[in-house]
Amino acid sequence: MTALARTASGMPAITYNFAYLDEQTKRMIRRAILKAIAIPGYQVPFASREMPMPYGWGTGGVQVTAAILGANDVLKVIDQGSDDTTNAVAIRSFFETTAGVATTTRTQDATIIQTRHRIPEAPLREGQVIVYQVPIPEPLRYLEPRETETRRLHALADYGLMQVKLYEDIARHGHIATTYAYPVKVAGRYVMDPSPIPKFDNPKMDDSPALQLFGAGREKRIYAIPPYTRVVSLDFEDHPFAVQAFAEPCALCGAKGVYLDEVILDDRGSRMFVCSDTDHCATRQDEGHTGSMSAPYGEGRP
């Protein structure tokens, strides 16, 4: 884009540096990312910038994506598994505008996937990078409010407190009732908050061929899981970690063993369970899979 481009009214058109952030900022973020990769699970502070979106909408993830994005990358953005919710659409068009990169909704085609609250159902492969938006990077936050103390606990690998939280879950509910942001231990060292993904997705983080990066904009922290790293969900010997199980398959594509969203259909309690990963669901429907509430063949589809 040239800096002299003008709009119809004669005003100079707004031009952005590639991927919005200036090059010095991107270098700073890349340094933080490299450090994070070198110390898996460790929260690296970084000089988080103001972004043209409110905190809580993925300012951390956007900065990480901006720092690693190249002209040939193909970007996918998901929000709660969906490619077409506000957050996903806004961030995707943000990078289309500021970086001009290709975007996709297909997990397999993407080189960078920025996500909020889900890991895609389709297995990630080597060379892909998944960027998580993180609201609260500190897994010990609600157990120990002092940041000075939680840093010391991490430094000393003093994680008894995290176990106390799981103990309380079992004592109160009879099982570990934490269902999202379920704490994990990375490479046998740091306990990490995996961002608010459902614990259903925790096993996908373990030994993943893709690079996993986590950005928390308001809290100014970046952390990472390098490819093929051991990620273990914390538990007790007699109450082992287990993921959610769903009684029925997806109502649209019949998929089993995937994470489902509950959709309320009316005010009389009717509901359906559908894939939270819209790309996965659409791909399966295109392949001819149907569920209990699919439209008859040909109907409702172009």
Binding site: R152, L156, A171, R172
Partner: protein
Amino acid sequence: MSPQMTSHPDAPLLVAEGLAKYYGSRLGCRDVDLSLHAGEVLAIVGESGSGKSTLLGLLSTEMAPSAGRVSYRMRDGEMRDLAALSEAERRLLLRTDWGFVRQHAEQGLRMAVSAGGNVGERLMAVGWRHYGNIRDEAADWLARVEIATERMDDDPRTFSGGMRQRLQIARNLVTRPRLVFMDEPTSGLDVSVQARLLDLIRQLVEEFGLAVVIVTHDLAVARLLSHRIMVMKSGRVIEQGLTDQVLDDPREPYTQLLVSSVLAA
């Protein structure tokens, strides 16, 4: 007698030499020397502001002394300077071989965590990962301090003052420490609850051969629990000796005043 005692029959557990603490130019305490043997209960008495709590903070490594040093005989029998311990070693010591019972239970407990979780925390911190075992051990300790098993999953917020102090004791003793610090554990409790608590402490001290440093302004508590007593005034130890000796036959005018100011019930 614990097995460690046989190898060092006379070695003290805790030794302080020339301890001093200044808050800027103000004096916290100074020139304190003491040694404490396994199974021994030492009471530190004196009016408020006399430096008792400062001394307890120095002994328990919660504060760094301005001068002097504190050493402790670790479980392996080696005498270590506490200031030279690494942070990890210090924390391990604090949560395994030591206990700290605080005046205000809210400071010594996690108020939002159930009683069972409070007792189990130390176990989980030293690596216990079996829920059933943690729970059994916690239940056992709650029973020892006379807290009903059905209150195990309740928050300490719902507990009375006396129960909270007993819960603190269970939480501290679950790892079988050899040394426990107590800061006014009975103040703010009514007399009958105090009596039960003192009874319990005395029984546990005897059962586990605990060494205790107890700070109190209540001479009756000191008389009931302690073998030895140190009287502090204006940051210094002015008199020390066997409890009965000091309380029955005080030498210093200040101690005489303290003893005589106790109301005879």
